[in-house]
């Protein structure tokens, strides 16, 4: 089976053509760099996404956060639920862990801006 | 039982209601102004051409003709007393062929009969000398040097603030639902309570017929005539210096092109009689018509500089004249109805006219200590560099810019929110300070202004209203 997709690895948006067999990518074309190949391989087998959002701080203002790496796509809304229920105490620094091992993904949610 | 007793209850806080309130505040009378909206000037007074008409248009002998010319003459003094921007920029009524010159002459004669000064019919060359961007097809023009431009909101607010300073009460967000005649006057029922008054003045704009009918036999009908406008950025403000009219028709004065006191360029209005008196929507056809027709009188209009379009409703009475009188059947009920154009111009004269009617119902005794002047919000944009520097030294909030397009500071916005009858909505702040009226239309400053409104009212950002 052939799948066409657009690489989201960077804003280039390469149009990829992926040959898929048994849920695995056997060949990728159209990519400009290695990110495209990796993206296509994971997209057909186990798609993942970065999640970025905000957590509330004790000052009443939101603080931006992100998952340190991509998480399984189907977990996005669970991750969001967890992030929404999180409050951080200021001050915080970039990289501080807001939620450790979010939803059992093994990925931490970390602060993305110095605040407070 | 009514909670509070007044001598006069004014229904409607538009320019007519507020002008009347200010006039009556010179006398020892207790006055309340009641309006359904959360701010003054939310109806017809808000969305119009903002012109102080010279007065050549109305039929001689009508109230419109009389009050227009009188109102125009009062405007210089009033603008100084009440600290509002007013510019006598003059007007040109243009025609497109030799056949139409008699129509200009007719307008001129009418104007002379109405008492308008300085009218002159110009040739194309003479008109071009003072207005270079007239369209190539323009054949001649009637010049009216006494025509002017004003900020309708500033005028209405100034009347209201000055009336307030002189003891008039305002009850806003208070829609009138009924009026009952009693032995010694009226009881006005509204959303927030009941008010008894010896005299009720109906200044309710497009709803004047409805208010009238609450307590008297229907004797007139008000039609809402919608007019759509386009407002262009200040970079387009110099396209014309004078207000450019086309020859009037039975539906009104046609599409005009005019600078505004804020330096923008205003085009419009269309004229469509509509059934729904809440319908202030703009339409694709309307805006297309404004564009097409404005180009008939003025060339080089940079239509791509449009920053907003809006529509307003004119309150048109059946016979076309203002209806200002005490009701024949219900004594003490004074109607100020059908106040369409030139209502804005006429407002100060209407106020005097109504004062005289009130004087026949209630004793008018001049108040000692009446404050004739009112100081508007100090706008940085109107100050010299030195004056700005001094003001910021005294009040640092004037050094914090909030609206970048119109250069409005936190100090000005705080003043707009905190002064009596202060702004409670984003649009209220906008109309008082000009914030959000620039090119970005509030894109950058509205979150900051919302935060200031939220803090003042003790509400969350989400609860801050744009209008109403």
């Amino acid at each position: 089976m052939t799948r066409n997709m657009i690489c989201i690895g960077c804003p280039m948006g390469c149009e990829l053509t992926v040959e898929v067999e048994n849920g695995q990518a056997v060949s990728v074309s159209g990519n400009t760099c290695g990110i495209g190949k990796k993206y296509a391989e994971s997209e057909v087998s186990a798609p993942t996404r970065m999640v970025t959002s905000t957590v509330m701080s004790d000052s009443g203002k939101p603080v931006p956060v992100k998952t340190r790496t991509a998480v399984p796509k189907e977990k996005i809304f669970d991750v969001m639920k967890c992030i929404k229920n999180t409050t951080v105490k200021l001050p915080v620094k970039i990289g501080d862990i807001a939620v450790a091992d979010v939803c059992g993904t093994g990925v931490d949610v970390v602060v993305a801006k110095d605040a407070g | 039982m009514p909670e509070k007793k007044y001598d006069v209850a004014i229904i409607g806080a538009g320019v007519t209601g507020c002008a009347v309130a200010r006039e009556l505040s010179k006398y020892e009378l207790s006055v309340i102004v009641i309006d359904r909206e959360s701010d003054v000037c939310e109806g017809t007074s808000k969305a119009n051409s903002a012109i102080i008409h010279a007065g050549f248009d109305a039929k001689p002998g009508t109230l419109k003709a009389k009050l227009n010319v009188e109102g125009n003459k009062l405007m210089d003094r009033l603008s100084k007393e009440l600290d509002i921007p007013f510019i006598r920029n003059g007007a040109l009524v243009v025609c497109r062929s030799a056949d139409e010159i008699p129509k200009l002459e007719e307008l001129k004669q009418r104007g002379i009969e109405n008492g308008v000064e300085g009218l002159k019919v110009l040739t194309r060359e003479e008109a071009l000398a003072i207005e270079p961007n007239l369209a190539d097809e323009v054949y001649g023009a009637l010049y009216a040097p006494t025509s002017g431009i004003v900020c309708p909101f500033a005028l209405t607010l100034a009347f209201a603030e000055n009336a307030y300073a002189n003891g008039v009460e305002f009850s806003l967000s208070d829609e009138v639902s009924g009026i009952r005649k009693t032995a010694d006057g009226f009881v006005v029922s509204a959303a927030k309570g009941e008010y008894s008054a010896e005299c009720v003045i109906n200044c309710a704009g497009v709803y004047a017929d409805k208010i009238h009918s609450m307590v008297s036999e229907p004797s007139f009908r008000i039609t809402a005539r919608r007019g759509e406008y386009m407002l262009l950025d200040r970079s387009a403000g110099n396209t014309v210096k004078q207000t450019i009219f086309q020859l009037p028709t039975h539906m009104g004065k046609g599409i005009l092109v005019t600078p505004t006191v804020h330096g923008n360029l205003l085009l419009g209005p269309t004229a469509d009689d509509i059934d729904d008196k809440e319908d202030t929507a703009t339409t694709r056809d309307g805006i297309a018509s404004v564009k097409a027709k404005s180009a008939l009188s003025v060339k080089n209009i940079p239509y791509n500089q449009v920053i907003t379009s809006f529509s307003g409703l004119r309150a048109v009475a059946d016979d076309g004249d203002f209806i200002i009188r005490e009701d024949e059947n219900v004594k003490g009920l004074i109607d100020a109805a059908g106040i369409e154009s030139p209502g804005l111009t006429s407002a100060p004269a209407i106020a005097l006219y109504i004062r005289d009617i009130v004087g026949k119902i209630l004793p008018l005794k001049e108040k000692s200590g009446f404050i004739p002047t009112r100081k508007g919000i100090t706008l940085l944009a109107n100050l010299s560099v030195e004056e700005r520097a001094e003001l910021i030294k005294q009040e640092p909030a004037y050094g914090q810019m909030v609206c970048r397009c119109s250069q409005v500071s936190e100090g000005e916005i705080a003043d707009a929110i905190n002064r009596p009858l202060g702004a409670t909505t984003l649009d209220g702040v906008k109309r008082r300070t000009g914030s959000g009226m620039g090119r970005c239309q509030g894109g950058f400053c509205s979150p900051k202004i919302m935060a200031m409104l939220a803090e003042k009212q003790g509400i969350s950002l989400k609860e801050v209203k744009k209008n109403g």
Binding site: M5, I6, I8, P11, M12, G13, E15, M50, V51, T52, S53, T54, K61, P62, P64, K66, K73, I76, M80, I94, A112, K113 | M230, L231, E278, T280, A281, T282, R284, G286, I287, V306, I307, S309, F310, V385, I392, K393, P396, G399, M401, R404, C405, Q407, S409, E410, R439, C440, Q441, G442, G443, F444, S446, P447, M450, A451, S460, K465, N467, G468
Partner: protein, 423 residues
Amino acid sequence: MAEHISLAVIGGGPAGMAAAIAAYDSGITDVAVFERDNELGGILNQCIHNGFGLHTFKEELTGPEYAGRYIAQVKERRIKCETGSTVLSISPERQITVVSREKGLRVIDADAVILAMGCRERPRGALNIPGFRPQGIYSAGTAQKLINCEGCLVGKEVVILGSGDIGLIMARRMTLEGAHVKAVAELMPYSGGLKRNIVQCLDDYDIPLLLSHTVVDIKGKHKLEGVTIAEVDEKSVPIPGTEEFYECDTLLLSCGLIPENELSLTAGVTISGATNGPVVDDTLGTNVPGIFACGNVLHVHDLVDFVSEESGRAGHNAAEYIKSHGKKANAPDIINITAGNGVRYTVPSTVDRANVESEIHLRFRVRNVYKGCTIKIVSGDNVILSKKKRISVPSEMEDLIIRPEILSGADGGLTVMIEEGSV
């Protein structure tokens, strides 16, 4: 008495910071950055999504993280940053009037000025959408600021007009926050945003993208009740009978960005009708000596990495200008760069061939979607550069690098053009 400074940078977003850092590193240390907000970073502070920095830092950062990298560099160099300071005007002699709460109103003379004020969104009024003007209509960036910086979710049932990147990003953002985004309507037959944003912001969440559609009516006097969307023909005119009503409490507008050049105009800077930004030469200098421009105030970028790179060059060139007191090494030999077939504009629009030291970035946008096309730079009858492209789209800025030696072969002006492919 006016104060004096070597270099004034107007704006403390990504462009201003990169320019200030580069100027400092080129030997001009008497630099001040004037930022109207109370913190550095500009619009990046509200762009909490990721995708920034792949070119610059070879890693994928969020907006605040990307800004943080530059803020750290500014701080390391102890570059003077005046936050909460709004520049009100700039004279052609480079005298700037600046106002702040703490320091009041000041007049400052600068040897050079870098314009880095960024851009703003096209508001509803400029789009002439008919209908009412109720609460609930926001430009996408304003909604982004309210949600991401103020924690205020503006609505629950959302329609987005325009498929610019901010609109796409906000479609996802509002969905993640629990809102229901019903559709994104785009007037053009192609999207105004990056492809990857369509995939990960719309497709991932099954949000329909309605190409060749627009909002034709807005309902609700005080609060937004819904919008009517219709299909448009090839002239962008709504097709009768295609109207469909969408109930919603929020309409976001993502219909283009406009460089914010009101200040530039006060200085007498010439603005291009194509970019709405200053007309610049290869040093990113404007027509006013000593005034340079970079970033989104110059032309709207889609990648912040390109903004930083460009602004670094502006900073370096401004420093060189100051050091040489505005004098050029060689007598100028200026050639024009013209936007030819399929090209909307080029930045720069002139190059001084006699004073080019290193390679020139020629940036431009194409007018349409071109597949299998060739980008060419021609001079007279000579093709001096030719580059094949699989695809070129209006939403993605092109960046051609021209080596100085190529210019010497040019005969008169240069024209950049698209040669359409067979597809």
